[in-house]
């Protein structure tokens, strides 16, 4: 079989072309972890009220990016109304806290569950349509939630929003200052990152990748397409539902202004700019968004939206796969199991020169 030996030679050549020595790779990885740790702990050594507040927003936008990344990055579906789930998380907390005496801990899971239910309700009819039509329908859903927030006054407080719940606390430690919210928001980002990363490397994640790449071929592989698209919406909605509740507590108010179409647009921009499918990428996207749209606003004023959107255009033009592109590869431990079979040996794959 001459073409098989040609393939083997190509493989040997590819592996001989060493790009970065493993030791440098490892050093780079630890350097990255150290940098991330220093950056994440910045509010503690910068102190004050302003920085913890900004960093909490970064964590919340990182979580929004991670949730929407499941929909856009993993499953390849466009969602232009994602912030509707953030709104649901926020309003559910506000209602539960104001009228039913629930604490943040009790309200957060309720908000998450209702976000998932809402995503299933919107997903069921919309996921049968494709491409552009799907985008338009999610846009419509975002609109419904926004206008409902403005007009269903008994549930949402209308334009004024909902506010005035008692200060939330955990183990007697009150959430009073921004530095109190920060660990909560950061913890959510970390959990979202770990869970979505785990899903990406599993049967569900593979099914999403197949659907993103080629629906006909995914069907031929036996993957239930509609069901897995629905799962993508539901898994994505969880994180916005949870983050929305934290946001409400931090702001001390929920009002429709936070859930406009602009916000949903920026959520999509965060994912695309950071790198669709990439965990670190979309967190970086969320951080950049907050840096430009909130932090630098003191210097740039109303220009910040222009700056962020221009940056998005630049990224799409020059680096369409995003700032930190996702490089798909199967988990290393799986490949190890593939290679470590006694019946097969490792010839031709792990030690091509031997």
């Amino acid at each position: 079989m001459d073409y098989l030996s040609a393939a083997r030679e190509r493989l040997i050549r590819a592996q001989a072309r060493v790009t970065v020595p493993p030791r440098v790779q490892t050093a780079g990885r630890y350097g990255f972890y150290l940098g991330a740790l220093v950056f994440a702990s910045a509010p503690y050594w910068l102190g004050g009220i302003y920085y913890p507040d900004i960093w909490t927003d970064m964590a919340l936008w990182g979580t929004i990016g991670l949730g929407l990344n499941v929909v856009i990055g993993f499953a390849g579906l466009l969602d232009l109304g994602y912030m509707a789930f953030y709104a649901i998380g926020g309003y559910v907390f506000a209602n539960a806290a104001l009228y039913h005496g629930f604490s943040l801990w009790e309200a957060m899971p309720i908000g998450a569950v209702l976000s998932v239910v809402a995503s299933a309700i919107i997903g069921f009819p919309t996921l049968r349509v494709r491409g552009d039509y799907l985008a338009i329908m999610t846009l419509g859903f975002g609109g419904i939630v926004y206008y409902a927030a403005q007009n269903m006054t008994s549930l949402t407080g209308g334009y004024n929003g909902l506010f005035g719940w008692k200060t939330q606390s955990i183990l007697g430690h009150p959430f009073a200052s921004p530095i109190d919210f920060y660990p909560l928001a950061l913890g959510l980002t970390v959990v979202a990152a770990l869970v979505t990363r785990a899903l990406r490397g599993s049967r569900v994640g593979r099914a999403w990748s197949c659907i993103k790449d080629d629906e006909v071929a995914a069907g031929a592989a036996g993957i239930p397409i509609i069901r897995y698209k629905l799962y993508a919406y539901m898994v994505g909605a969880v994180w916005a539902g949870l983050a929305g509740a934290i946001f409400a507590v931090k702001q001390n108010i929920v009002s429709p202004e936070t859930f406009t179409f602009n916000q949903s647009f920026f959520a999509v921009a965060v994912v695309i700019m950071g790198g669709m499918g990439s965990i670190t990428g979309v967190i970086l996207g969320g951080v950049l968004y907050v840096v430009i749209a909130e932090w630098m606003v003191t210097y740039t004023g109303t220009l910040s939206g222009v700056i962020f959107s221009s940056l998005l255009l630049l990224v799409v033009l020059l680096r369409p796969q995003g700032l930190i592109p996702f490089r798909p590869r199967p988990p290393r431990w799986l490949l190890r199991h593939y290679l470590e079979d006694p019946a097969r040996g490792t010839a031709g794959v792990s030690q091509p020169d031997g």
Partner: protein
């Protein structure tokens, strides 16, 4: 139509008619495919071979007539339900996933059989690990079977040479554990040595107990592996029978001479 000796064929296509707008692509096509057979489907370009494939595999749903697998109608089922029923296929223009590696293609084909739920997947529980390891072991056996044992399992599928991509598509289809494998021009674009290898693979698939429906232009492959051949022209069956009968049939010769010549 030839009378069929078997009582219960694996696949029975009767009166299949598919029209796109006003154009009838396939008209009143009927054939039986008994379990264990390799049935070839040939005909000039545009004769309707791929349309028959698409109707059987659920890509096309609006057809008249009946497609039955072991007596059960496949009407109204979507692609993955037909895979679940036991029919897998490959595509004429290879359809691999651009972001998946070699091994992940086979794992994707095993999707329905890998036992892990969403919680297992999210938390990478011991059950998840065991399910994945079992799946990888099976995937390796399938890759070995189709002759991809020397390929890096972590390589991007689209980086493989063309002939190996075809084999990977067959591996993905076999991973669904089908009763019937439908191959749409598996030897297209291959040289002589490669199409001999492909013929051997098709025969090996049958040895595994999988029935094969083969659309192919390469007459060396068709004549050497098929037990029976169905010839389509302008959406209709003009002849069906064993290779030696089909080869000498004047209608078949006319159909091929009257259009673009095959290989």
């Amino acid at each position: 139509m030839s009378a069929n000796p078997t009582a219960e064929p694996l696949l029975r296509v009767s009166g299949l008619t598919v029209a796109f707008g006003g154009v009838v692509a396939v008209s009143d096509v009927s054939f039986d495919l008994p379990a264990g057979e390799i049935l070839g489907m040939i005909g000039p370009n545009g004769a309707g071979k791929t349309t028959v494939f698409n109707a059987i595999s659920g890509v096309i749903k609006g057809y008249r007539g009946e497609v039955r697998l072991l007596g059960r109608s496949l009407r109204g089922r979507n692609a993955q339900q037909i895979v679940a029923a036991g029919i897998a296929r490959t595509f004429q223009n290879i359809r691999l996933f651009r972001s998946l590696t070699v091994i992940e293609h086979v794992l994707a084909g095993q999707h329905r059989r890998i036992r892990e739920n969403m919680v297992d997947s999210a938390l990478h529980t011991p059950r998840f690990r065991q399910a994945e390891i079992d799946a990888v072991r099976q995937a390796r056996a399938i890759l070995d079977f189709v002759g991809l044992d020397q390929v890096d399992p972590g390589a991007r599928a689209l980086s493989l040479p063309y002939g190996l991509q075809r084999r990977l598509e067959i591996a993905r289809a076999l991973a669904t554990e089908p009763r019937l494998l439908m191959l749409d021009e598996p030897a297209a674009g291959m040289n002589t040595a490669e199409s001999i290898d492909m013929s051997r693979l098709v025969r090996n698939v049958r040895e595994r107990g999988v029935t094969v429906l083969l659309v192919e232009h390469d007459m060396r492959v068709v004549m050497s592996v098929c037990d029976r051949i169905v010839v389509l022209n302008f959406g209709k069956i003009i002849v069906q029978g064993p290779p030696e009968k089909v080869r000498e049939d004047p209608d078949v010769i006319a159909a091929y001479l009257g259009s673009e010549s095959s290989t």
